[in-house]
């Protein structure tokens, strides 16, 4: 193996050919080769483990808060529940805009499909890599909390957005709106469309996502209080996947014909359920509402399959998350603060450790054209 010639590398020159076990007549002897191969790997591993690394200045072991290569510029690691979800693509646009405005380095990574195991892996890698702040949307509230607590113990600031982790594993939760706000908006809209009575079904992302659980409870409370003769006949998860939502919606409509409305509380499910209603020829008989992006549902709203979509300005959520992350990293935002000034979302209330973006907004046939996200 030719000598690498880089003097900065303090590895021994490549072992001579005969050590590689190639003896005189070109015949690999089995045991000789094995010994040299393993010794080669051992040498390289040994030198690395001894921590004599060529370039990165930061010492081995604990990564200090300023651990990024650039020295001053903050590194904020931003993780969606799944990269493929249009909702998080819009949130990323807001985050990138904020990173540019605040001159911070944005690291964006996450699983392409919702997968809590991959989210943990990426957080672990960010801990080793050393970042200033981790802002994550949590697919599984309990699973990710252990990893986030480990990050905090390494001096990395942790905040969550869109879906929360366990409160002790993060300093702030940037919440788009209070669960009650979202639950009530959905329940009231459903009641308006069915004028107060009839069966409905909920399609959620997964039964472990923190925000989903809170929204379901809020909807149930609102249903019990205000609309006694509306009954939820089914609650099915779709793992944030459009075609799974399509299959679940079709199955629900077949299994219980009495359903009059499909309430989808995760964004991919709204177009999925709408397509299912369209293809089983039940447009008008079964209403479709949910939390979804205008851009994804514009076609269905115009065709009257989907009646109304409730959401919030997702780019602002992304923008606000990065602002909060930077403020926390610089120590400008401490626990117990009552409000926070955001360039995009204006004056934002803080309830306890929840930074509230604002109240949900209802898009329907009349106003959906004005929104581009």
């Amino acid at each position: 193996m030719a000598n690498l010639g880089e003097d900065r590398f303090r590895y021994p020159a490549g072992p001579p050919a005969c050590a590689l076990g190639i003896n005189t007549n070109g015949r690999f002897t089995r045991s000789a080769l094995m010994k040299s191969l393993l010794s080669l790997v051992a040498i390289v591993f040994g030198s690395l483990l001894a921590g004599c690394k060529p370039s990165a200045p930061a010492p081995a072991g604990g990564t200090s808060a300023s651990g990024s290569a650039g020295g001053t510029q903050l590194t904020i690691a931003f993780m969606p529940k799944s990269k493929g979800n249009a909702y998080f693509i819009a949130a990323r646009q807001g985050a990138e805009q904020a990173a540019k405005d605040l001159n911070v380095k944005l690291l964006y990574d996450g699983p392409t499909e919702p997968d809590p195991a991959k989210q943990n892996e990426i957080v672990e890698t960010w801990i080793t890599r050393g970042v200033n702040v981790i802002a994550a949307a949590c697919e599984n509230r309990d699973g990710i909390s252990t990893a986030l607590r480990k990050a905090q113990s390494r001096g990395i600031k942790v905040i969550t957005y869109d879906a929360d982790a366990q409160p002790d594993s993060r300093s702030f939760f940037v919440n788009q709106a209070t669960p009650e706000g979202i639950g009530n908006a959905l329940m009231d809209e459903a009641a308006r469309l069915l004028n107060g009575s009839g069966d409905y079904a909920i399609i959620t992302a997964s039964l472990t996502a923190g925000n989903m659980i809170d929204w379901q409870k809020a909807i149930e409370k609102r249903n019990a209080e205000k609309y006694p003769n509306m009954k939820r006949v089914a609650l099915r998860p779709c793992d944030d996947l459009k075609d799974k939502a399509f299959a679940e919606a079709t199955a629900i409509m077949n299994a219980n014909p009495s359903v009059k409305l499909l309430m989808n509380i995760c964004s991919p499910a709204v177009p999925g359920a709408a397509e299912a209603v369209k293809q089983s020829g039940k447009v008008g008989q079964v209403k479709v509402i949910g939390l979804g992006l205008p851009s994804e549902n514009r076609r269905y709203v115009k065709e009257g399959v989907t009646d109304s979509v409730i959401l919030w300005k997702v780019q602002d959520l992304g923008y606000l998350t990065i602002e909060v992350a930077t403020a926390v990293a610089k120590g400008e935002l401490k626990a117990g603060a009552a409000s926070f000034r955001s360039k995009k979302a204006g004056e934002v209330k803080i309830a306890g450790d929840n930074v509230l973006l604002g109240t949900p907004f209802i898009f329907n046939k009349d106003n959906i054209e004005q929104f581009d996200f």
């Binding site: 493929g84 249009a86 499909e113 075609d243 089983s280």
Partner: protein, 319 residues
């Protein structure tokens, strides 16, 4: 043995699968006639059509004593290409051609490595499956292809017309392949190469060329299947096609295609595809928990293969 007895003995597997499917339909007719509503039947068949096209391609590959587990990724890439071409405003025939050609190209890549370098097909297609799927994820980052022109979904013919095109397309492909495998000498060459590569060579057939063409054909068929599946929706999901290779192999195996090559016909595969496709809706209509679908599919594969294994062992003892 009388002629009908010979037919039964030779096509035992295909007939038994068709019988099981018949029993399932009977049970459904009695308990849940809703299954046979025009709408439900159409949805089930349109969902099964692309799997049938892929399973036909897979039958060719398995009869030639090879295997291709990369068709899931090929399916996703071809759907994506179809979506992007349509979004670029190209007319649908060009989009169709683009999808089929890209499928054929990927099939040719597999074929070149397997037939050219003589590498084992299971490992080559394992590598290409991982590479193509991850390349698609890297480029699209899971983002759907959205805002497709109106003439994309259902070829612009509306749901009824669209589903019609898909079903006719699948039947056409099935018909052509059945004729080709029975009456075209190239089709018989596939059986010969699959049965005994050396004898085929001695009979003057070129096994390498046949193997290469088989991989190109399955690529093209998967491209067509991807197109026919993509037009069912208004946007294209990059995660589509996951697990298609296992469905296609399962349908072929249940339909009596021998994994050791040289044996099997498409009618059995048709019965296999229909049986596997109707498990999920049947469960819903029989009020059984839908999560049992995959377990039942697995059980059917094992049962079909076990019965076959037991029969050949019994035959071997007498013969």
């Amino acid at each position: 043995m009388s002629n009908s007895a010979v037919v039964i003995k030779r096509h035992f597997r295909e007939l038994s699968v068709a019988a099981v499917f018949g029993v399932l339909l009977l049970v459904l007719a009695v308990i849940a006639p809703g299954f046979f509503s025009r709408q439900q039947l159409l949805t089930t068949l349109t969902a099964a059509a692309p799997v049938l096209i892929a399973a036909c391609g897979m039958t060719l590959v398995i009869v030639c004593r090879q295997i291709d587990i990369s068709i899931g990724s090929q399916f996703a890439l071809c759907s994506m290409i179809a979506g992007l071409l349509a979004k670029a405003g190209l007319p649908m025939p060009v989009v169709a051609l683009g999808a089929i050609a890209s499928g054929g190209a990927m099939g040719a890549f597999n074929g070149a490595l397997v037939a050219g370098l003589g590498l084992p097909s299971i490992v080559v297609t394992l590598a290409t499956m991982v590479t193509w799927r991850e390349a698609l994820r890297w480029s699209r980052e899971g983002e759907f292809v959205k805002d497709l022109p109106d003439h994309f979904q259902w070829f612009g013919l509306g749901q009824g017309g669209g589903q019609g095109v898909i079903l006719i397309g699948a039947m056409l492909v099935f018909g052509v392949l059945v004729l080709a495998m029975k009456h075209l000498s190239a089709g018989r060459y596939v059986y010969a190469v699959g049965a005994d590569r050396e004898s085929a060579r001695l009979a003057g057939i070129r096994p390498g060329a046949v193997t290469f063409v088989v991989f190109v054909i399955i690529g093209g068929l998967v491209g067509l299947a991807a197109l026919l599946n993509a037009i069912r929706f208004a946007d294209v999901d990059p995660k589509t096609g996951t697990g298609l290779e296992l469905q296609a192999i399962a349908a072929a195996v249940i339909g009596g295609v021998a994994i050791s090559g040289g044996r099997g016909n498409l009618w059995g595969v048709l019965a296999g595809v229909l049986l596997l496709a109707s498990i999920a809706p049947a469960l819903v209509f029989l009020q059984m928990p839908p999560q049992w679908e995959k377990a039942i599919q697995g059980a059917i594969i094992l049962l079909a293969v076990a019965v076959d294994g037991w029969r050949t062992r019994k035959e071997a003892n007498i013969g």
